[in-house]
């Protein structure tokens, strides 16, 4: 097990280096020079040259990149934002909690309602309710999230005046964006829950439970759901990674000053250090979450846990 975790963590290093290189090359190809952008077109040449040196942009492409990566590895220094001149890391951290809150709201909504509707659909297979849920699922996956967001604003904020239109100052501000961001994954969760519930509900042990007169509620939640949980857990893990990086447009619509808004602004202003740092941040987090999901498997499913145990221990536990 430890070997597996360490191997996965080591594999993260080349991936992160690769990401930084890809983004660094893309951004260095964009027209416009960071120093000129910061000082304005009218700035004198000497000031521009001086600033370029301060930012570590005075060498060739590879020289600059290696200096940049070197600073990160040796000093943990991600550079300063070209826009605000603050350290990039504080810039990212001050924005991140908004994205995290949005992601958690979305995951909570999509998992709770996704599993609930999935169970209902599976228990009442082929009924009107099941077909209705399937139709809603299809509609949810076919909607662009920004359109759903706008429709929710029109219905709940403009017409019914129940919730605020935009901003991020209270928990009520996160309901509509959370709903918007959850829609797609709620649909996936419903589908996944439905199909894995249907798979387990036909198992012999469920039939045995029925035969010995276990109440239906206990069969659904105790016998079936417990065994159908595996794929649902994976989905929550994947969802988490996606939510952290995929809510760029939703943040724009609802005026949430999170990482997504920061990224779009940074790309427009060619703020390369901020772009690379935030993407690396998100990529690291989602890889760690994926790893966490894999480890969680072991706790949910004893069959997988036994794979990671050494032979000696496995014999001991079985005997």
């Amino acid at each position: 097990m430890y070997k597996f975790i360490i191997k996965r963590l080591l594999m993260l290093i080349p991936v992160l280096l690769g990401i930084s290189f890809i983004l660094y090359s893309i951004m260095s190809l964009t027209p416009g020079d960071a120093a000129t952008l910061m000082l304005g077109d009218s700035a004198n040449e000497q000031a521009i040259l001086k600033l370029r040196e301060e930012l570590g942009l005075n060498g060739g492409f590879f020289e600059n990149y290696i200096r940049y990566i070197g600073n990160i590895i040796l000093h943990g220094d991600f550079g300063i934002s070209y826009r605000t001149r603050n350290p990039v890391f504080t810039e990212v951290l001050t924005r991140f909690h908004y994205t995290l809150r949005l992601a958690f709201t979305a995951i909570l909504i999509s998992t709770v309602f996704g599993v609930l509707f999935g169970i209902i659909a599976a228990v009442k297979q082929y009924s009107f309710t099941d077909n209705f849920i399937t139709a809603v699922t299809l509609a949810l996956t076919s909607m662009p999230d920004f359109w759903l967001g706008m429709m929710l604003i029109i219905i709940f904020a403009v017409t019914l005046k129940l919730l605020p239109i935009s901003g991020a100052t209270s928990w009520r501000h996160f309901i509509l964006p959370g709903l918007t961001a959850s829609a797609n994954y709620m649909a996936y969760t419903i589908r996944q829950t439905r199909s894995s519930m249907l798979e387990t509900i036909r198992m012999d042990y469920v039939r045995t439970a029925r035969a010995k007169g276990v109440p239906e509620g206990k069969i659904v939640f105790g016998h079936t759901l417990k065994n159908a949980l595996m794929p649902i857990v994976t989905l929550v893990g994947v969802n988490m990674g996606w939510q952290l990086g995929g809510t760029i447009i939703i943040e724009q619509i609802f005026g949430i000053p999170g990482l997504g808004s920061l990224l779009i602004m940074s790309i427009r202003l060619k703020d390369t250090p901020v772009i690379i740092a935030s993407v690396m941040f998100v990529a690291t987090l989602s890889s760690l979450i994926n790893l966490g999901t894999d480890i969680l498997y072991a706790f949910i499913d004893p069959r997988i846990k036994s794979l990671y145990q050494t032979k000696k221990k496995a014999v001991k536990t079985s005997g």
Binding site: L138, M151, G246, L263, V279, A283
Partner: protein
């Protein structure tokens, strides 16, 4: 009596179907998929023939200030926008852009995905495979929207660049799928037979493996067109995609966003156009999946 004999003959020798015929036979039985196909073909025909009954200059982009913000009526089905342009006509013209770009994206990602994926899959475990797959990992770790935004901001946003940027950002996923598909086939007996006859690797990949691996690829391509239409709409929505005054559904929604509070009807129609198109493609994709691989259907 003759009829009776014919029935016996038919029963004795079941109708032979070509492979495509058999797939179509199974596809046709799926009512939802058929509905999707009908919706998509209708939309496609409407979009293709648009120049016959609409004039781009006069109907689609000409601004008539006296006609602005007219709600839905018999004259303007979905009303008019802030420049007095008919939304219904703009949606029809927008279908041309959305569908063309959506298919373009898939063409790019499929070409790259098939080449890289089949090489990685056929030579699995080799250095080439490892390099390609680690590259995939890196690209997959960057959020797709973000990669597309970065690529477009480098190359400038015109339609070919948009197609290329969005195609490249979906390529890793396609390559992964092709690789998995190739891997599942490359150890079959008939590949071994081809190899023992001295067939070259290139020929084995092109004429033995790919035709047999194409099923999941086609399904993924259909679903990718749907996702492509959504991503081009998203790009236009944040102002990096199709530029005004050209009508594209996302660009129309982007313009409607400003007027959303006072004129909410502007938001509804372009969104429904997207939902309808994407949904029809999803239904076709799901139907194809079942039709191509009857074993997978439970």
């Amino acid at each position: 009596m003759a009829e009776y004999m014919k029935a016996i003959e038919e029963a004795a020798e079941p109708k032979r179907r070509s492979q495509i015929g058999a797939i179509w036979f199974r596809f046709r039985k799926n009512k939802l998929a058929l509905m999707g196909l009908i919706i998509f073909v209708t939309l496609g025909l409407v979009a293709l023939t648009a120049p016959l009954y609409l004039d781009f200059e006069k109907d689609v982009i000409e601004q008539t200030i006296s006609q602005r913000f007219k709600g839905p009526s018999a004259e303007h089905f979905f009303g008019t926008d802030q420049f007095g342009r008919d939304i219904f006509k703009r949606i029809i013209w927008g279908a041309r852009t959305s569908m063309f770009v959506g298919m373009g994206i898939v063409a790019v990602s499929m070409t790259g995905g098939i080449i890289f994926g089949s090489l990685a899959g056929y030579y699995d475990g080799s250095v080439l495979d490892n390099v390609l797959m680690r590259l995939c990992d890196m690209f997959l770790a960057i959020p797709g929207t973000l990669l597309a935004i970065a690529l477009v901001s480098v190359s400038g946003n015109n339609i070919p660049n948009l197609i290329l940027a969005l195609g490249v950002s979906t390529m890793p996923k396609m390559a992964r799928l092709v690789r998995a598909s190739v891997l599942s086939i490359k150890n079959q007996e008939y590949i071994e037979a081809a190899r023992s006859c001295g067939t070259s690797d290139r020929r084995i990949i092109i004429s033995e493996i790919l035709p047999n691996a194409i099923g999941p690829i086609i399904v993924e391509a259909t679903l990718s067109v749907a996702r492509g239409i959504i991503s081009i709409a998203s790009m236009s929505f944040i102002g990096l995609g199709i530029q005004p005054p050209n009508p594209e559904w996302g660009a129309m929604l982007s313009e409607a966003k400003v007027q959303m509070i006072n004129h909410p009807y502007l938001v509804v129609a372009p969104g429904i156009a997207i939902v309808l198109t994407v949904m029809s493609l999803t239904l076709i994709g799901d139907g194809l999946r079942d039709a191509l691989d009857p074993k997978m259907k439970n």
